[in-house]
């Protein structure tokens, strides 16, 4: 699920305020944006690229390998199905507050078609020096520099802070994979960990999780068998149970999704769990061969 610099990217919802703002930044950074979609503005251009009526038309006209959706919550199901039916194999769904049954429908269709979904409710992905897809400050070199540390995060803001701390410690990132803050998401911590494990440009992984769900526990099981070092930070140790902490997926219900469960699963797998994000540089230094 790593989007590379050679990929041709479609932006669904390119003519909206956020769509056009971030499309322009993606293009400026070097992402190969081939076009956008807005059925009402088909035939026009936006950010210097053509606007198509739908993803199928974009596929027939220029072709694309990844799509980024800047689409309001209730329109996402149809837009994502449009991209999947057009043959797109990588979708980045940024939108928050998509009804969960819509998300499950899209994930089932993607699974059948062999397409991968990043998100929903993600800030997207950055491959420093190559491209980015979403709304991350890829262009800020205090935060993103080409390097060999992979970062996985449920949160955009916290993931950004982790990347900032990595750069301050002298490291750079091979890829930042924002997986999203919703309870049901396409690419899980485990999926992202597997793809960074397989990536030859990645030497170590920082896994940034949150309370809620059992994704970190599943990733821990896999991390136990990895040769590459993994360090982790889990947000929400000081959060009260039973409350949705901003992200729909960040909620402790009964004894499920607790900080303690995630930390002990990760530590049992040999993953160092940080007490504060500022420890990330030292932790990486401590587990990489000098």
């Amino acid at each position: 699920m790593i989007i590379r610099g050679h990929e041709r990217i479609l932006i669904q919802g390119i003519t909206g305020r956020q769509g056009s703002f971030w499309a322009q930044r993606m293009i400026d950074y070097g992402s190969r944006v081939m076009g956008g979609v807005n059925p009402k503005k088909a035939g026009q251009s936006c950010c210097g690229v053509p606007v198509y009526a739908n993803a199928k038309e974009a596929m027939d006209s220029g072709g694309f390998t990844a799509s980024v959706l800047f689409i309001p919550p209730l329109g996402c199901k149809n837009a994502a199905l449009d991209a999947i039916e057009a043959g797109c194999k990588k979708l980045v769904i940024l939108t928050e507050h998509i009804p969960v049954q819509d998300v499950m429908y899209v994930l089932a269709a993607a699974n059948e078609a062999g397409a991968r979904i990043l998100g929903p409710n993600t800030a997207g992905q950055v491959t420093p020096g190559e491209c980015f897809a979403g709304f991350m400050p890829a262009f800020d070199n205090e935060i993103f520099r080409p390097g060999r540390i992979g970062v996985i995060s449920r949160s955009g803001s916290l993931g950004t802070l982790i990347c900032l701390n990595l750069v301050q410690a002298g490291y750079g990132e091979s890829a930042f994979i924002g997986i999203g803050g919703d309870p049901v998401i396409g690419t899980t911590s485990l999926d992202a960990l597997q793809s960074l494990d397989a990536d030859t440009g990645t030497d170590a992984v920082v896994l940034v999780g949150e309370i809620g769900g059992t994704m970190e526990e599943a990733a821990a099981e896999y991390a136990a068998g990895m040769h590459k070092p993994v360090v982790a930070f889990i947000a929400g140790q000081a959060s009260p149970p039973g409350k949705k902490m901003g992200h729909a997926g960040a909620i402790i219900m009964g004894d499920k999704g607790t900080y303690a469960s995630k930390r002990s699963a990760l530590e049992a797998a040999g993953v160092r769990v940080l007490d504060t994000p500022s420890e990330v540089g030292d932790a990486i230094a401590g587990c990489l061969p000098g």
């Binding site: 998300v103 949160s155 929400g236 504060t276």
Partner: protein, 378 residues
Amino acid sequence: MNFEEHAAKPLLRAEGIPTPKGIVAGSAEEAREAAHKLGPCVVKAQVTAGKRGKAGGIRLAADSNEAYEHAQAIMGMRIGGLLVERLLVEQQVAIEREFYAAVLNDAASKCPRVLFSAVGGMDIEELASQQPEALHSRSVDIRSGLQLDDARNLVAVPGLESLRDPLADILLRLYRVYAGNDAELLEINPLCLAADGRILALDCKFTLDDSAVKRREALAALGTAEPLSEHEAQGQELGLKFIQLEGDIAVLANGAGLTMTTMDVIRHLGGEPANFLEIGGDAYTRATAALKLVLDNPRVKSLVVNFCGAFARTDVMTEGVIKAVQELQPGIPMYFSIHGTGARLAREMLKAQLGLASFATMDAAIRAANAVPGRSAS
């Protein structure tokens, strides 16, 4: 969004799942009248909390006088922290056997999951830990929905052969209620076989997916809003997620993950956070409203402002905080850590307009906030 039993059961009936005859009562007097019409009945507290029975909120009444007495006792109780203001008075059912049935959004399989157990009445956590073999479940492809064969397999339990078709039929209907109402969770516990052979839902728990409220407005109007403090309600109106906590270090941060982390690090470094408050987006007016919320707390001794901009622009958020500080003149010290999108401009504005510098790291800002005199911890 959770629904009280009386608001959830009509959804079942609309798909043909029977429930006992019942009447909602807003007072003990109304409960007496209801019982007069229904005969021997059950008086049930209407709150969206579990374990109502154990708390004494569900009581059998042989006649209307007894129903009145029970209603008087139950009205005004607090169950799971929730005040009982309504009762559901239902006709008693002679129970032959109890079952459990549910459909829920399953994050692990990313699919709807249908559950059935021939052991009903205890809550699902107890059942799953005590008799996991009795809990049948399967995930469903949401595109095609629950199929008859799958429903029949779920209810295939030795000794229940004669009920296989009617129970499978209930599951199919239950699934339709789930799919047709954007349920996050839909549970019948207990589902019962009555002595007269009917299958009835004696209780119903329904949680509407919060993200679907916008397309289910009429339905959502029947749900129970989450009980919020005054400040939490103000935050919700402004589109800000605010949660009051016990500590004295106020928190203003952007993004859910960063806000939780700010709280975590405050505690890790010896302090205690006063609130969760996440702002984001791109309107500085939200920052102004947000700062008002966190400062309206007499316990607060200091404030940590922690911005790390990705989508959210730190210059816009900082502009809002500066305006709010100028307007409110808070009498507490403030410690900023600003990074990410727009950070350079944000730091310049902060220096020029408030004479404050942004700390080099979040930890440094939090250490300073935790060290404010008047705090017992250090």
